[in-house]
């Protein structure tokens, strides 16, 4: 045992020496050069859901502004909160202009870290709270709005009078979407049955698939669901000819014959504005909401699905109503 301890002490000493030689370099934010963004995300950048929506927004901004004006780096799969905190702190110390903590679980960490880096701007979401810290932005999505629109269409399209919902865990963005969906469906057909199933996981594709089978067995002819594990449910819907409504990303490509429409998050609305503010010297303090109205939320219809004209009109009227406030989802707020 002593041997191991001795070695351990040696390694420690060596590393301390090396670190002393290396020295800690504190990079500073430079005004020239590209605008640098670092983003920390809880799941994979290709999850076809929450993380991918932000990754795509940043990619789009990079394409628009050009690589010489905008650059971003990312850390994906940062589902462990303290790993994410370490990443945020590290990016901050390297002089990034904006650090996006893309997950509602990161808020508490930002609250601690942001005051240590007053010249760096931070953003997190989905949430509405900047903690009154001047260099924190917050952003959230009124996903209940898209849920409502999808619900309206789902109820109009359902022949059997039964609709199924496959959810992850009964919280946050997913719950907002589901509640909005139910409200929209009920507003269209008050006697419609909406069966809801939360499978207790964001990643259990197999169980999501079985949940869809169960909804089908219970008579549902229209399904929806939120989070990355719904790919399992979409497969079942396609196999059994059940209509599907998506959210968080355009899911048409997965099953072109049965996906009617998807609610898509377009975070460029938020990020563009943050960049503009930061360039003017405002590093935070603003809480954003993406809605149908500011077009941070979009309903993307699947071209491959032949949606009847009257249902499409109904959807467009609902979108217009939600935009001008004549329709309320009754969820959240």
């Amino acid at each position: 045992m002593k041997r191991v301890l001795k070695l351990f002490v040696l390694v420690m000493l060596a590393s301390l020496l090396l670190s002393a030689c290396g020295g800690a370099q504190e990079a500073q934010t430079t005004s020239d050069g590209p605008f640098k963004v670092a983003v920390v995300m809880p799941s994979a950048v290709n999850d076809l859901a929450f993380s991918q929506s932000m990754f795509e927004a940043l990619t789009q901004i990079k394409n628009e502004m050009g690589a010489e004006n905008f650059d971003f780096v990312y850390s994906d799969n940062m589902f462990v909160v303290d790993d994410a905190a370490a990443a945020i702190r590290d990016y901050a110390s390297q002089g990034y202009n904006l650090i996006i903590a893309h997950g509602s679980q990161y808020g508490a960490s930002l609250k601690e870290i942001a005051p240590d880096f007053p010249k760096t701007s931070f953003a997190w979401g989905t949430a509405g709270d900047t903690f009154d810290i001047p260099n924190i932005f917050a952003y959230e999505a009124y996903s209940q709005e898209g849920g409502y629109v999808n619900g309206v269409m789902a109820a109009a399209l359902s022949q059997s009078g039964t609709i199924g919902v496959v959810g992850p865990i009964e919280v946050g963005d997913a719950k907002l979407y589901v509640d909005g969906f139910i409200a929209g469906a009920k507003a269209t057909k008050p006697d419609i049955t909406v069966n809801v199933n939360y499978i207790g996981s964001f990643s259990d594709v197999a169980l999501a698939s079985e949940a869809a089978q169960t909804h089908a067995g219970a008579g549902a002819d229209v399904l929806t669901g939120s989070a990355q594990m719904v790919v399992g449910a979409i497969g079942v819907a396609e196999e059994r000819g059940i209509l599907w409504f998506g959210t968080q990303a355009d899911q048409s490509s997965l099953a072109p014959s049965i996906v009617v429409a998807s609610q898509v998050y377009d975070w460029t609305v938020v990020v563009d504005d943050m960049i503009a503010l930061i360039k003017e010297g405002t590093l935070g303090g603003k809480a954003y909401v993406v809605t149908l109205e500011n077009e941070g939320l979009l309903i993307v219809f699947n071209d491959g699905y032949d949606l009847s004209a009257d249902v499409k009109t109904l959807a467009e009227n609902t979108i217009a109503g939600l935009k001008d406030g004549s329709i309320k989802t009754g969820v959240g707020e």
């Binding site: 994979a44 999850d47 076809l48 069966n195 207790g200 996981s201 079985e210 169960t214 790919v231």
Partner: protein
Amino acid sequence: MWADLFTGSVLVGLLSSGIRLATPYLYAAIGETFGQRSGVLNLGVDGIMLMGAFSGFYVVFLTGNLWLGLLLAIIVGAIMGLAMAFISVTLNAEQGISGIGVYLFGLGMSDLLFQKLVNNVETVRGFQPLHIPLLSDIPVIGEIFFQQNILVYGAYLMVPIAWFVINKTTFGLKMRAVGENPEAADTLGVSVAKVRYLTVTFGGIMSGIAGASLSIALLNVFQQNLTNGLGFIAIALVYFGGWRPGWVLIGSLLFSMVNSLQVWVQVIGIEIPSDIAVMMPYLLTIVVLVISAQRVRQPKALSKAYERMD
């Protein structure tokens, strides 16, 4: 509300769900049973499943050829099984820990390959339901049992085969001998290493197929961590089954059907918090084992490395 659970459509749903869901568990658990019967605990099942699931999916994604996909899943499973055998038999490494290493490697590697080779979540056209002539036309029963895809049938076919191999063949005898008393088996001229290599590699192949059964037969999609810990449940089911294929089958069906039941409970609107409902299959598996009070002894040499003293 609770009475709604006892309707025909729910029962049919439960049975067919149970049969489908049990498929990956069966492949993985039967493969693991072989390894454990010969004394090797492989905790890396989930990682091997993920690698099998991705490789099968990728081939089908590129070529559309399902059998080629299955073949690659088998090959990749075999390679990983062989690696596990090398680690645990030749290098005599602590099995539980090396299994965790294999799991982490499979989890990361399958995700990395997916991100680099496919990048987007894509679907493929997997094995389609195979209607068995005549039988599939029987009302209700036909729908439940005889309209599944071929990998589902294959999983159930493995149960009697595994039983036969374990209990009725010379190899099965050698395998059990090696798992119970490797020293004695060795003295009798049975090569402990050879037997364990075979069983662990077979376990790898079965895990590979289990993964493929998800990605190209049941779900027809690949995603990061597609199995979501399913391989660990499969290992638990080996213990549930007491290293007997028939009981592994019962355990897999029970777990899957209770899982399906909790989905139904939520879907028909019984007022129970979703998280509590999700606990049901896990809780019940323990409870059933306690009540059934099985007294099955585990293979004596399980998870013990065997070093020849020469």
